[in-house]
């Protein structure tokens, strides 16, 4: 195999990893483009917001707040609360990116969002060959599919009727997949349950997505404290790996060998 082929395999292999996410972006992006169109965005503005903001939740929020003629400052404030969760994402990716340059980090951060973060976190944690360069490729593939779907959605405008609730469920399903992939032991299931309950309660009490951020911080910290206090107990039930995890290990093994089968 010559070098060109290996390079091709590089971007193609990364593309294959990003593909399921890219495909799930199509229906959500179309729906988002349709919504943005109905709140007054033309196709170019839709493309621009998809690249610059690049966040499904934020774009749905912008569309729905403009539809009720909310003032600019209020839209921005809501956005800030919604986007604060990105601070958690980039803080948790930082242990993997200590060697990257300042410029690269800025470049990487500009295209990071919930979904490509989940892929990159999983790959950084399980695949030794994963690096910042591949991670940024995942970001860009997902951004391409997202932006094009949004622009197509904006063009077809009112031609197609989507049930927004159903299309929105695509995101829920994506988050569900990503959550399950993070489950390592009973403790992580406990953290998940705690976070779910806390976030619903706090969001209702605070009337803001800030509740989501606080719940995530508290639940993950409780998880960390429990793990810490169980260290030394070799047979701690909570820390025992689940069947799921072992299979995941096999799965990544298989995947890695299949990725390298032409070597």
């Amino acid at each position: 195999m010559n070098e060109v082929d290996e390079e091709n395999q590089g971007w193609l292999a990364v593309f294959k990893i990003a593909l399921p996410l890219c495909l799930s972006y199509i229906p959500i992006g179309l729906a988002c483009g349709i919504l943005l169109h109905s709140s007054g965005f033309n196709i170019l503005l839709t493309g621009l917001v998809s690249i610059l903001v690049f966040s499904g939740g934020a774009q749905f929020l912008i569309a729905s707040m403009l539809a009720i003629h909310a003032p600019l400052l209020q839209v921005l404030l809501m956005l800030l609360f919604l986007e604060l969760r990105y601070a958690l994402l980039s803080a948790s990716l930082s242990p993997f990116m200590k060697k990257e340059s300042l410029g690269f980090l800025v470049y990487f951060a500009s295209s990071m969002n919930d979904e490509n973060y989940a892929i990159n976190y999983l790959k950084f944690a399980t695949d030794k060959n994963w690096n910042g360069h591949k991670a940024v490729m995942v970001n860009h593939y997902s951004m391409l599919f997202w932006t094009v779907s949004n622009m197509i959605g904006s063009t077809i405008g009112n031609l197609i009727h989507f049930d927004v609730n159903i299309v929105n469920f695509t995101l829920t399903a994506l988050f569900g997949y990503m959550m399950v992939m993070q489950v390592k032991n009973w403790l992580s299931i406990g953290v998940a349950a705690l976070s779910g309950m806390l976030s619903v309660w706090l969001m209702i009490v605070l009337k803001s997505t800030m509740g989501l951020v606080i719940a995530t911080l508290i639940a993950s910290f409780v998880g960390f404290l429990i793990e810490h206090s169980l260290e030394g107990h070799k047979h701690a039930f909570l820390l025992r790996g689940l069947h799921l995890h072992r299979r995941k290990g096999q799965f990544t093994d298989v995947k890695e060998t299949s990725d390298n089968h032409e070597d």
Binding site: G40, S92, N165, M181
Partner: protein, 108 residues
């Protein structure tokens, strides 16, 4: 009536608001020595965050009141967990989730 200029201003300000929380922690935590306990804590962020996002989608309305939006959504979310654990495939999980919500919201 809003002009294209208004939208452009909104997009640029929104981009700044979206960019700052993404970049600041990355710059801060990669360039400083972080205590080990912080990394240990960050390990639990993904699982907590994604569950919080799911709980928001299923149980919280856009006006921040508690509501089980639809039984179809609850059933489909549980199904998504099962399928994700079984298949480990993002594509299959999302497609199965969509089929499930289509069927259940039609039936229920």
């Amino acid at each position: 009536m809003r002009t294209n200029g208004d939208y452009l201003l909104l997009i640029i300000l929104a981009a700044i608001v979206a960019f700052i929380p993404r970049v600041v922690p990355l710059l801060y935590f990669t360039k400083r020595k972080i205590p080990a306990w912080f990394d240990e804590w960050m390990k639990y962020i993904p699982v907590a965050l994604f569950t919080a996002l799911i709980a928001k989608d299923v149980f919280v309305t856009s006006t921040y009141t508690f509501n089980v939006n639809s039984a179809a959504e609850v059933i489909s979310t549980l199904l998504v967990f099962l399928i994700a654990a079984r298949t480990k495939s993002m594509g299959i999980t999302v497609i199965a989730g969509l089929i499930s919500i289509l069927i259940f919201s039609y039936v229920l």
